[in-house]
């Protein structure tokens, strides 16, 4: 027999970016503890729908912790209480019978609410468009083995490239800063020979864009690292600072 628990959910409901929002309370009864958090919301939503109400809108796609779509604050924690876990990978078994969960969207000036738990993270795309790439045309690449890359560099670059762009770092930061996201991309490319050619231009352009989008400054709280479902390290922020300084010196 499956274990089941009851939960009380206080969920932020907001029709659109320009309408006011408010918390509503829902009871989630007899929830199988093997369900994922999002499956629990599915169950609540089916009930809402059957009672003539609009279901809670939340972003989700892969439900495997890799696309970066999902995310919400659960009792003030981005993606909930489990370390290194996206909301879709969080399971109901992590909660206790009778718990009350406050569920809200990411809160940040740069991420306006679209509806309920869904926010607009297009600022992240615009930061990548500013320079988060290697300028290489299709067809112009040299043979892959023409340039050996030390394994340590490749592994470290991977660690930075593992960012899923979910925005939890921004949501967790008291200043709503995006430096972990930006630092991760800058590090990923600066650690590889392929990305080094444009490193100064990239650092300058991405940081400039980040500031323009209205993200806050970093004051070393490191809440971002704690909230990151992919455990991206704050060392990426140090690298960002180094790369930016280097770009600054080079003019």
């Amino acid at each position: 027999m499956a274990n089941t628990i009851n939960l009380t959910l206080k969920v932020w409901r907001q029709k659109s970016s320009d309408s006011p929002g408010a918390f509503e309370i829902y009871q989630a009864h007899d929830i199988d503890t093997d369900l994922s958090f999002l499956e629990m919301l599915d169950v609540v939503n089916i009930n809402l729908e059957k009672n003539g109400k609009e279901p809670i809108a939340f972003d989700h796609d892969c439900r495997e912790g890799i696309c970066g779509c999902c995310g919400a604050m659960i009792n003030g924690q981005a993606h909930g209480p489990e370390h290194g876990t996206t909301l879709c990978q969080l399971h109901v078994r992590k909660f206790r019978d009778g718990d009350t969960l406050v569920i809200e969207p990411w809160r940040s000036r740069a991420f306006p609410v679209v509806r309920d738990l869904i926010v607009d993270r297009s600022a992240f795309d615009r930061i990548i468009q500013a320079g988060g790439y290697v300028t290489v045309r299709t067809g112009s690449a040299p043979e892959a083995h023409s340039l050996p890359v030390p394994k340590i560099d490749a592994d470290e670059a991977f660690d930075s490239a593992a960012c899923i762009g979910c925005g939890a770092c921004v949501a967790a930061c008291p200043n709503a800063s995006a430096v972990l996201f930006v630092g991760a991309k800058i590090s990923h490319l600066a650690l590889l020979p392929q990305g080094r050619v444009e490193r100064e231009r990239r650092a300058r352009a991405m940081v400039e864009r980040m500031d323009l989008e209205g993200f806050g400054n970093c004051s070393n709280h490191y809440e971002c690292e704690a909230a990151c479902p992919k455990e991206i390290s704050v060392r990426n922020i140090a690298r960002l600072n180094r790369e930016f300084f280097r770009a600054f010196v080079k003019g």
Binding site: S36, R115, P142, P148
Partner: protein, 637 residues
Amino acid sequence: MTLDSKVPGGPVSEKWTRHKFDMKLVNPANKRKFTVIVVGTGLAGASAAASLSELGYQVKAFCLQDSPRRAHSIAAQGGINAAKNYQNDGDSVYRLFYDTVKGGDYRSREANVYRLAELSVNIIDQCVAQGVPFAREYGGMLDNRSFGGAQVSRTFYARGQTGQQLLLGAYSALCKEIAAGGVKMFPRREMLDLVVVGGRARGIVVRNMVDGSIESHAGDAVILATGGYGNVFYLSTNAKPCNVTATWRAARKGALFANPCFTQIHPTCIPVHGDCQSKLTLMSESLRNDGRIWVPNKSGDKRPPGQIPEQERDYYLERKYPSFGNLVPRDVASRNAKEVCDKGRGVGSTGMAVYLDFRDSIQRLGRSTIEARYGNLFQMYEKIVDDDPYQVPMMIYPAIHYTMGGLWVDYNLMSNLPGLHVLGEANFSDHGANRLGASALMQGLADGYFVIPYTLGHYFASNRLDPVKAEAPEFKEAEQSARQRIQKFLSLKGKKTVDEFHRDLGLLLWDKCGMSRNQAGLEEALRKIPEIREEFSKNLVVNGSADSLNQSLEKAGRVADFLEFAELLVLDALERKESCGGHFREESQTEEGEALRDDVNFCHVSAWEWAGEGKKPILHKEPLVFDEVHLAQRSYK
């Protein structure tokens, strides 16, 4: 209608080179006069959009998610094949070609597959240059692993997140082109219809998923790269919004749908646990490199795995297929899992699971090596199942994973509808009746980076295209019917939610048209699908409005299309009386229970033409000719 595959002449190894020379070119200064609509920005769509923009075309790209970085391709774990032969183990373009044709159980087009194998090497170069952090050896060279259906190590990987890294590479190229002004990106847009003007695909109608507005976009060609339809089974390893809408709507406008019954069941997924489950999670096939699959010898043996002694375990794949062992292709591995479970030897609380055991490789290689290879997969398993696979064997069961079928395309990746091109999982072209592991990423990127940039230019240069505007009556009509459909869903006010209908359909298909299929079951499904559809059209409930973000409404459109398409899928399965690859007809098997092809009657592509509501679709056949690879019964013994 005769289907012209437009395969160029000459020896298979020279076809593409020759064709590239024979194709007409568009003058560089003229390219910016052409607008290309790219629907879908997964691996196939993002690579196509970026590459076409680099050439100078004006690209408009569309996707469902808030960002192109989140397409379903992101979830691919295991790796991407390429015939680099870096391992010096006997690989070559020809061997990759051969393995793919054989793996597909001789139901793919030779010329397309050869080109795919040929282009595979360029893909790795391109991705490395973009900064994709593939796994490397200490000398700084790229590392490889082996995958099912091959005896060489040709799979390139980035830990267990290869799809993520490749997609972020393609996404970065796309971002570069967005910044350069060549691509205009439209996220959170759902294509609801294809618009055909003067017999050519000239645009699309989309719904803005944030404010609900219906928009028309006109262009000179339309590229669909909208992925596969595995979610027709409700529970699958696909991302939740994966759908058939874009391709099905195109089929209703005249594009042929090829081999819809060729669906792939992946052998290593986390078993189903309950009724509220929303999706299935894949455990990468690469795990079969070091994990051994077994069940107890005796049926009903409920002892914990650790208490079952060695001689009472049946490593059934190693026993039956000594030369490939645990690395047999997916269809073979899946069917064998079903067979042992059907005989009551399955494990776990439902008995619908087999063990995938790492005990021996942990002993041989040490925990840290296994951790380096599969750490993130083990972690994912533990999160979902709450069991530690370093200590107890994983439990796995097959699940729907990939769809080989898709819109019919010729060698130029153009459908029978002029101007409509189809890339990636959305087309049918390269994998026959079964796809080999690590070949979908390869195909998506080959299509997008290296095929369409050539063939689309040829289409533009060889046809005179009159200007078309989004105000044309064909667009208005398509908008009108999209709005009507939406209003219908909202007006029903029934009692059953979209998900409930979707689950009903999925259960039926999995049961009657899943891992094994027979005439009676398929006929039953053909009777029941219209019943579900009928109930859907009366008893559906979708609340909220058309002019706001409304996820139930989005799902309603997708499920409505699945309900129509499912009938075609089952019909195709019924008509194809042979077994081949992932399509197993119980009536057609060898004495050992392996799939038995019927090359006399079924060595063809089945391409279906929509004939209108309530009418039986029309079957067109493209005969498959094998000049290079000798048609043989597949054997992995």
